[in-house]
Symmetry: C2
DNA sequence: TCATTGCGCAACGATAGGGTTGCGGATACT
DNA sequence: AGTATCCGCAACCCTATCGTTGCGCAATGA
């Protein structure tokens, strides 16, 4: 239940902690793109973007395939779903007020704000 | 309302990129807890946990209130929802195959490779 | 009043991350 | 063939972050 995901969530969440990488993800959400296309809108070298892509690939958020001298990138929506699922699970857990109340009582405080 | 502070997604996602902090979040999902309670299960000093809490607090994922010499922490589910929402939005965007197809065509490539 | 507990801040060393340039391999163009 | 392009790797800085120790402050309890 808690240790259910093959790859650690650490790298995936950390990867999304960078604005450039999130922008890449946003771009890929609207369709596949090559490294060059992804790098264009940014004011950094293509190597930097290539590295970001490598990070996103290693943590499973995107996939790459060889197409000639291009390396088209594709968003891995399933992996995104895993991250979304973790957050959602915490929210659902929180939503079950029974547990919250239990802890409140244990902490010796009432919910009267 | 929703157009207040979007940028801090960086810090929030990055915060969840640390296993210790995710564990703290998981703990808080089941109910509020003090810094000491949160630090107990970990093999690090309370200062380290206190710092993690500070990071989670600054990026809005948790809140703290003063209760005597205690500092009970509470999970901010709304903030969690924002992160979940961003991921979900990318997934929905991806799900709209029209855009994907459009980009495929624009890239001059078909999935037959 | 004095000692203890809960917690945060500041400073330190060690490590990881993002950016750059330089280089080389693979593929496309002429 | 030769050249240009796309892309990744490796080396190098620079800065941010994790963990530690030491200290200090406020609240509790004797």
């Amino acid at each position: 239940m808690s240790t259910h995901l093959t790859p650690p969530l650490d790298e995936a969440f950390a990867a999304l902690g960078d604005g450039t990488r999130r922008a890449i993800v946003e771009r890929l959400a609207s369709g596949d793109a090559t490294v060059g296309e992804l790098a264009e809108p940014f004011a950094v070298t293509h190597q930097a973007i290539s590295r970001h892509i490598g990070i996103l690939r290693r943590c499973g958020l995107i996939e790459q395939r060889a197409d000639g001298r291009r390396r088209p990138c594709r968003l891995n929506v399933e992996r995104m779903g895993e991250l979304e699922g973790w957050i959602g699970e915490q929210r659902r857990q929180w939503a079950s007020r029974l547990d919250r109340l239990e802890t409140h009582v244990a902490s010796g405080q009432d919910d009267a704000r």
